[in-house]
Symmetry: D3
Subunit: 137 residues, 6 copies
């Protein structure tokens, strides 16, 4: 079993805000991340699949094809978008934290991978010093 | 003459949009950067000053003090903010491109540096593959 | 279950030296790392916790709060310090190798994390090309 | 149990090409990677071993000694070489994809590690955005 | 005057070899870089242009458009290619060192930039620890 | 004229301390950098030379030979050393700040470069976010 990882990047705006809370409560919990007019990040998404190398091609799957699926299913929906408002597969009112994003991205990507590989891990860098990971369980 | 650089980071939302243009014109020029609901970046700002090392301290200026001035005069105003709406020293209606930001940041920072150094260069990374530089002339 | 990682950095001096050995024996085993007058590193510590995202905040825990605990319990004791001489929670005479440091840091950090997360991994970069990891077992 | 990783780099040429296929078939599957006159990469190999820190040295094994073994058994055979033509331990006709390379490297390195550690993982970066991993099973 | 830099990457094979010299002479001068069957690199090209920000767009030129020109005029000719054999604008028999490549790339790119900017610098990373720069004079 | 840069790394201990000042004065000026038992860094030194590419080799000078000179004249004296105590070419009592180090390194390296190149710049990273540069004037 070999693991293959492809990294794709996107730039997006978001804020952390619970609609049922007052502004004071939101700022108390989320600090500057609750800024009303949004802020944003350069995100880097590591997509790891696992499988057996094909005896002819040496691929578990073509990394370029993997990149194409990730772009079509995830990046095209989030790049230069607002993660609170613009993304169909992020439920309205849910916080677009990195911890939640890796779960939404997993649900979005999982059905579109070819049968010869299994999705193993999503790792999302929000900044150089914070990242979240999800293994589907 | 020795050059000293301090790097400070911030996360902000912005969009590129000319108010006098139609949405079609804005999208034609700015592409995805014109997304109505904003997008954002992790910015890294390199501030370079030049001067002579002090014979006692070996500093041209204390890098921590330089970092403090950059934080107070620039980072605190732009971090977790919207560059189109929230920043007093970015003129309303001006595009917050990296090329313009290095000029606004220069004007903002210049008067606050101590006399023993000269501001030499501002370099602003917008993504891993795009950066702007300004030398004050 | 989602994994969240926060990276904190520190700069410290150390040397590798067994008090019961001669200088020749120390140099034979540790090479330049046994330099009598110390050497030092820029360390980067990756702290990974795991838990379930809170339905309101989307956090498994606030990454800023995690950073604050890591700074108070570890970084403040090792940053700009000598790892052989200055750190109360590194036993005298023990070698401050990265392999040992991740164990000492685990013991130091473990009791201070909130109940909603479990400490999953410590990863310590000593240089760009050497790092140690510990999972608590 | 502590995990220690040492990173070593090499520069090599390769192409992806199945001898039994026509040029059209090769290009259809491998795209630009099938370029007849080769292309190449700066590879970075992360070698992770696991073991217990020695009570005297604090090492699970000397990272410099680990680097020396990796250089002698792998890097010296692949650095500034052609991975399709020049490397004795890569079988003729096998594709030098990253997925296959981590398996060949594992087989090559495994017998040469000292008994106090176990080889845990090989991770090979082919570019900044693609890497393969192998855990020996 | 503001400087804007766009980074584009490519992967290529090459070797250093003077046709008029014996193999012994080539190896004596170029070492492992003279390996008959080639080796290769992941190159990163920094293209810096300078100009005045447009009062409407805030661009000195659209960074995406700059990237497109660099891709069309340079990257498409060198990516997944052999720099000694496959590239029309690298003269036969000339050494594809980074020092020469930045000159050939300058000559290739210069005529294709729009009049509102001037080409200021090309910087080419051959590995993480070696790069060449050219300013056109 | 082409510029060639070679990066070499070293790990060293140091502290900032003026012997004629009290501990209170030193801590007031240097903060944690005045820690009596030292601290340390992973330094990265960028050495830039300029010259004309040789028509046969394509080199302004062999980057490996440049690296060898930098290692012999600088790195071997500072790597795994104490910059206040162990380095012959750093004057006793002088502060080993990055600003001073680039000057001492310039004086040390300058006489040892071959006549076909000129030393253009030394750039020294002390941490990921602080670096000093010197151009010899």
């Amino acid at each position: 079993m070999v693991y293959l990882t492809r990294i794709e990047k996107f730039n997006a705006a978001h804020k952390l805000w619970v609609a049922d809370w007052t502004e004071e409560e939101n700022v108390a919990v989320f600090g500057r991340c609750a800024n009303a007019n949004w802020h944003g990040h350069n995100y880097a998404l590591h997509v790891t699949v696992k499988g057996m190398p094909d005896p002819f091609t040496g691929f578990i799957m073509d990394a370029k094809k993997l990149g194409g699926i990730v772009k079509k299913e995830i990046i095209d929906h989030v790049d230069h978008r607002n993660l609170n408002l613009d993304v169909p597969f992020i439920p309205a009112g849910c916080q677009p934290t990195s911890e939640n994003l890796v779960i939404y991205f997993w649900q979005q990507l999982f059905p579109h991978l070819p049968p010869e590989v299994m999705l193993h891990r999503l790792k999302l860098y929000e900044t150089d010093s914070i990242y979240a990971e999800y293994f589907g369980e």
